[in-house]
């Protein structure tokens, strides 16, 4: 029994070593999730993401929204049962009310690497629609998780479309006292201007 166990471990280690030694495969940036090969690199070969980098501002519902878009190269990702790398855009934001008070600030928030809550990362582009597709992990308790579509209008302007989903929450994992407000603007076609 013990020997079988050890053999299994040795074989597993061998497999891990072999896969680790394999040359990394590069796949297109917009490879479908189910077609992604483990350990591959979804590279932004055409530098599509670069067009969206920068700091942008918009006003909505008596609030000022500042978004900070940066490009991260080769970000490690684990989805389904696959580990892979992808060039992504990351958005951090600060939302202030009419009195210039900060309502939410993820720019200065320390967010653990594996956390999705409070993060916004791109997962692909739609070049013929001039779009970049991003996933927002939602605010506290993941509330407001959903898709954000950014459309490049010109060198100074992007159009924002945020589509939050519904959440079933429970008091055990999301205490009633939690701030459940989604501060990002839930609206289509909001124009952000480059600063």
């Amino acid at each position: 029994m013990k020997t079988i166990f050890f053999r299994v471990i040795i074989i597993l280690e061998l497999i891990i070593n072999i896969t680790a030694c394999k040359a990394q495969q590069t796949q297109p940036l917009n490879t479908n999730l189910k077609d992604i090969i483990s350990n591959s690199y979804l590279k932004d070969v055409n530098n599509e993401l670069d067009n969206y980098e920068g700091n942008f501002t918009a006003n909505f519902d008596d609030k000022t929204i500042n978004i900070f878009i940066t490009k991260e190269l080769k970000k490690p990702i684990t989805l389904q049962t696959k580990n892979y790398y992808q060039d992504v855009l990351s958005i951090k934001y600060i939302v202030k009310n009419g009195n210039d008070q900060v309502l939410q600030d993820t720019k200065n928030m320390s967010i653990p690497t594996n956390q999705t809550i409070h993060t916004i990362y791109s997962f692909g582009t739609s070049p013929n629609q001039n779009l970049v597709l991003l996933y927002y992990g939602g605010t506290n308790c993941g509330i407001g998780w959903g898709k954000i579509l950014l459309k490049k209008l010109n060198t100074n302007q992007i159009s924002w479309d945020y589509r939050p989903n519904s959440s079933l929450i429970d008091a055990a994992s999301c205490p009633p006292s939690t701030d459940k407000t989604v501060y990002l603007p839930v609206i289509k076609d909001l124009i952000f201007t480059k600063q």
Partner: protein, 449 residues
């Protein structure tokens, strides 16, 4: 010579007859621990088991048995059936029971009664362990007893989905010399087919009647409980005005933004409408409820999401008598359209389709990372929306086919392929069972009759 043989034969016959008569008398004195003088096998059933048994089932099995049995044959070949101590070992859906067969004040064999659909099958079960357990339960001085239930199935078929019951007995002594107290534990998981076909129990002795074993057709079982037909299950809900009223309330909410939810009891009684926030609702405890519904907001994906699926699992687990398929979760969503009424509604409902063991594994052993599952679901949706086979035009939300494919793809990602039924409820009340085609590139909607 011939005379001698005849004489010997006669003597032998007389001797046999004597033996037989003694044996029969013994039966009358011994066979009944309750002291009743009527014949045990046909005595009116009144459970004396220490545990809760499926009395409806045991009574019906006895009815069927008495109709077909030749008592002399049963007595001669098996013994007397003591129905009062029959046990269903945690199964309450008229599917399973063990009936002890008594000979000389001892359980010598068990009759296993298995119902599949409207057929009853009778088998011999001569597991020594189980027989010893029955002996202790009937004849021992029981000072303590206990039972624990768990879901388990030995056969992948949904029809044979049994509960496992582990029953423990402590047998004490009345100060009798040499008596040693003992504990007996027995686990029974319904009908389990081991190697080879089970041995049929033949109450009639008539070769023209089915014995219940092997390839036989079994006996007609009267009024079997309604099978878990997904169409039947939902039909009752849709005709219930309380259900309809709540769904309409959620539909109205789905066009406005903000989330509401509601739970339903087994008899259809709804909870108060639960008003959540802009993008969330807390349905609260699932205990005591059969299922729940909530609306998805105008911006949200009009399909059940991973957290909705997990919530359905919790409703399923809470269903009484192991009727896990009854637990459900539903969602309604809407979007503007250029169609009559200018609003298109999406109303989908899911229920669990796997075994109790699988349900328990999905719910307790998987440690779902909901944040990761939600991300996968949204990325799938985002990618699918770029493919014209899933949207009516580029930039539109997923269409019906797209939404349904997204659901099945999500199930697959959760390792639950084929374990969840998806039903679409149209505005006119027609229910469609949705299935993914084998190619995985489209779904089929089969309307309920």
């Amino acid at each position: 010579m011939r005379k001698k043989i005849i004489l010997r034969l006669l003597l032998l016959t007389v001797f046999m007859a004597l033996l037989w008569s003694c044996r029969s008398e013994d039966f009358f004195q011994e066979e009944n621990p309750s002291g009743s003088s009527t014949k045990l096998s046909s005595a009116k059933y009144a459970s004396k088991s220490l545990w809760k048994e499926d009395v409806v089932y045991i009574e019906k099995v006895q009815q069927v048995f008495l109709k077909i049995a030749n008592m002399e044959h049963v007595r001669a070949n098996y013994g007397e059936l003591n129905w009062d101590y029959a046990m269903s070992f945690g199964n309450f859906n008229e599917t399973y029971a063990l009936v002890p067969i008594i000979k000389d004040n001892k359980v010598v064999l068990l009759m296993e009664a298995v119902r599949i659909g409207h057929k009853l099958f009778l088998y011999e079960k001569d597991s020594q362990e189980t027989i010893a357990f029955f002996n202790a339960a009937i004849y021992g001085k029981v000072i303590r007893y206990d039972e624990s239930l768990s879901g388990k199935n030995g056969i992948s078929s949904k029809a044979l989905n049994y509960v496992c019951s582990t029953r423990t007995l402590s047998v004490g002594c009345d100060g009798e010399p040499g008596c040693v107290p003992y504990v007996k534990t027995e686990t029974v998981c319904g009908f389990q087919q081991g190697g080879g076909p089970p041995k049929g129990f033949d109450p009639s002795g008539d070769p023209n009647l089915g014995s219940g074993g092997g390839a036989d057709d079994g006996y007609e079982y009267p009024d079997p409980p309604e099978e878990e037909d997904p169409c039947e299950r939902i039909k009752n809900k849709l005709t219930d005005p309380q259900f309809k009223a709540k769904i309409n309330e959620l539909k109205a909410q789905s066009t406005q933004g903000g989330e509401k939810g509601v739970k339903f009891k087994e008899d259809g009684t709804p909870s108060e409408t639960i008003t959540g926030g802009d993008h969330e609702v807390d349905l609260g405890d699932t205990a005591g409820f059969q299922g729940g519904y909530h609306n998805h907001t105008p911006t949200g994906i009009k399909m059940l999401s991973p957290p909705d699926i997990v919530k359905m699992l919790s409703f399923a687990m809470g269903q009484p008598n192991g009727n896990i398929g009854n637990g459900f979760m539903g969602m309604v969503g809407s979007e503007p359209c250029s169609c009559p009424g200018n609003i298109r509604y999406y109303n989908y409902m899911i229920n669990f389709n796997g075994t109790a063991q699988e349900l328990s594994d999905f719910l307790y052993s998987m440690n779902w990372d909901l944040n990761k599952l939600k991300k996968e679901y949204q990325i799938l949706e985002g990618q699918m929306a770029l493919d014209l086979s899933n949207v009516d035009y580029l930039g539109a939300n997923l269409n019906t086919q797209g939404l349904e494919k997204l659901f099945f793809e999500t199930l697959k990602g959760m390792g639950m392929e084929g374990k969840v039924n998806l039903q679409k409820i149209e505005d006119n009340g027609i229910v469609k069972n949705i299935t993914l085609n084998s190619s995985g590139t489209s779904t089929t909607a089969t309307p309920c009759p």
